[in-house]
Amino acid sequence: MSESPEQLLEQQKRNCVFCKIVAGEIASRKVFENERFLAVLDINPAAPGHILLLPKEHFPILPLLPEQQQREIFQLAASLGEAAKEAVIAQRVTVFSASGYAAGQQAPHLLLHIIPREQGDGLEMLDLEQRTTSQPDALALSSLFEKAVLQMLEHLGRAPAPPSAPSAPEAPPDAASEGSSETAEFEDSRAALEAVLASNPDLRKLIMAQPSLVEDYVEKSPKLRRLFEGVNIKALSIALNRQEEARKDAAGERRKAARDLTEEELFRFIDGNEGLRTWLLQHPQELAANINANPRLQAFFEGVDLMDLSRRYREHAERGA
């Protein structure tokens, strides 16, 4: 007779070494405990001060842990990491968790490994410096992940804000007159924004790379709304990108745009960029939509008919195959 999932879980609990540690049936070197969590020193440590943080109740993997306890386990991991780092005078801490056998999970009880780190400690595999697997769907995934993360942050009550919002906003620039061109609007407001942008390169980069995202932030933050009142952020982005191109031109650093390349050079460039290649061959319309939202890509593909490029590149790829 086959057992139900509940019966299997009960059996797993009965045989679980960490449930026995929680119950005090197996000795451990406890370093912290509250009502829901226990932290003990790992008896086979990856480094001195290696802590195992576990929920007292049996949960096999992180996604099964209730939300409030997920929040608490990561808060505790940060605090215990700091404690372990200070205790053994380490440079930093790595927190490692594995869900599933394929990920290296060895016990059926959720554990966070909190490992103090030193240079040359032999744990470099945790730093993931070897990155040789191409991710052709990086563009599509990043968009999906971004939405999921923003939803989660909203759920957590952490209203998104720019990574480094200006702390002392200048007086808001005057609204540009109606009917003027986008670039002219920027010209009018440039003086007022210049100081803020000069003192905040991250904000400048963000406006250049993701004006739509900045528009979202501005809409949600009264402080930013005052600062950017009357400013067309997309126009500002275009102007800043042009400024940057002009600077690169002057310094001889400007990257070529697609229109500057021969067809052979352009195809070679696409051949070497698997993500772009996949999008161009399989999702040219989505690529066009993404390009419109990204001023840098827009600058590179300016004047290029993407559907025509997709068709020509497909022919080129088929010839190559």
């Binding site: 912290f32 001195p48 505790l76 394929a102 990086a138 990043s142 942050l153």
Partner: protein
Amino acid sequence: MKRASGPFTLEVPEQGAVRGHVRMSSSSAAPDDIAALGMCANVLSSILFERMQAQGTNIIMHLGQGAEVEVLARTEGDGLDFRWAPKQVDPGRFEEIQGRIQNKAFFIGKDQAGPSAREPPAQNAAALPEHHADEGDEDELVKHLYRIP
């Protein structure tokens, strides 16, 4: 492809450690920020399970001045191996580290408690060896000296 996601930066590197590798970073390593990062990483991990037909996932956080979180979709034979060789730590050193961490961890979650709660229990205080610049402490002192900018 790097994107700002609220207070964090999100990146799906074109060259990853595996197919299904996402990285998030934050300039802060405060517990509340780490909790938010961890919960976001957990959501990403669930998406990776579904989208990449992963057989497992890893969440690896590097905490220093700021925080970086790597989320990995795992399949058997994907070439990653996080098994480490256990370090030999003698029982005396184990006990000393345990005492030190217990002392430092004693205040976790007690920030809102009254002043009386901010005293470590006597047995924990006893577990912390007195600090003398003798031979046993030399390594720790040298480590401290290296950290002075």
